[in-house]
Symmetry: C2
Subunit: 222 residues, 2 copies
């Protein structure tokens, strides 16, 4: 029996969230992982790996690649748009890597899945460092989504983002306590074999490990 | 150039909405039609027909059939659950035909598409008679969805439901004024050649035509 739904991508935040739920909170989540034409699809294999390692056999992969025309304005999806280095992206209200409404689409599908599975909570890994560029990782976002879902007359599903006030360094600290093997997570927005070290999530990830005085176990291009 | 996005299903409400937008308001919508494993997939051909008739060449079919496991609790999707006759369905807060979060999933994808296409409005065909069983066709639902979407820092997308206060009879009246050929719309939840005349949308549809003193041009089983 599952007792909640968790959205996991294979990145640092949602992987740590998964260990937090299973190892610390003894929850039994049904897992959802979304494919949506992202260039860094390698993270999906890592999501599968951690699900297996934690004994979460209830893992559904949802392939939304056909939404590529819907997401075509994002450099994370479109083959015609290059993913920018961090310097170009970090001063924008909405960087080109922003995928329109991505989190809300994932969460509304996850909430539907929770209804179908008889669960009442949906967990996702939003953390504080993402607030800079993205409107769909904030506490406001979670609260307004929950205000909307409360209109459901029968099934009361709540979105939970337990890391929403944590920095990425806080998340990594927690993950080390919980035994997360971070060489099996992926953050880089580029699709290359080694992480680029220059895009926004690479820069954030490296800074989080540095702040913790730890080495990032991932291979980088330089 | 399109100037808004409209979600059309081939049913009475969204078909009338399409004629209202194009013929009365001279709008140029990009159309979205969703396939999601519904038993009454015939309506999709009707959605295509009306798009062609009105010269709306910008029509994207989004096939979400792979969400069947997410929607499996609905008798509209699951092969294991029978669609109930109206008598069984009409006294429930949420009939078995309710598809978890369906409208919100469609609208959040449509809002993403509007962002990508540079439009600011998404139209859908919610009308008053659907309020009985469904929480996702109400004015409250539209307002809270818009409150959520307002958090987007760059793109301000609004959901519009111009028929939300109209009865189904009002919608049919408007459609007759606008020349909608209702023999090319489909409401029945069953997948048969002729409409069953007994499920909730059949009963509502027949009542709407009767209230208008008009004959429904669709073939029925009896």
């Amino acid at each position: 029996m599952i007792d909640c739904v968790a959205v996991v991508s294979g990145g640092i935040d949602s992987t740590t969230l998964l260990y937090y739920l299973v190892e610390r909170k003894q929850r039994r989540p049904a897992l959802l992982t979304f494919v949506y034409g992202q260039k860094h699809a390698r993270e999906i294999e890592y999501a599968r790996y951690h699900a297996r390692r934690l004994g979460c056999g209830d893992h559904l992969l949802v392939d939304l690649s056909l939404l590529a025309p819907v997401f075509a304005s994002s450099s994370l999806v479109s083959a015609d748009l290059a993913v920018p280095d961090r310097d170009a992206a970090s001063h924008e209200a909405q960087p080109s890597t922003y995928v329109p409404n991505r989190n809300l689409i994932f969460l509304t599908i996850a909430a539907a899945y929770a209804e179908t599975r008889g669960a009442t909570e949906v967990y996702y890994g939003a953390q504080r460092n993402d607030l800079a560029g993205y409107w769909d990782t904030t506490l406001d976002f979670v609260e307004r989504t929950n205000a909307l879902l409360r209109l459901n007359r029968v099934h009361h599903i709540q979105i939970r983002a337990p890391f929403v006030s944590l920095s990425k360094a806080d998340v990594v600290r927690l993950g080390f306590e919980l035994g997360v093997d971070y060489d099996k997570t992926w953050s880089c927005f580029q699709g290359d074999d080694r992480a680029c070290g220059r895009c926004q999530p690479c820069v954030d990830r490296l800074a989080a490990f540095r702040e913790m005085g730890l080495a990032d176990p991932l291979p980088y291009q330089k």
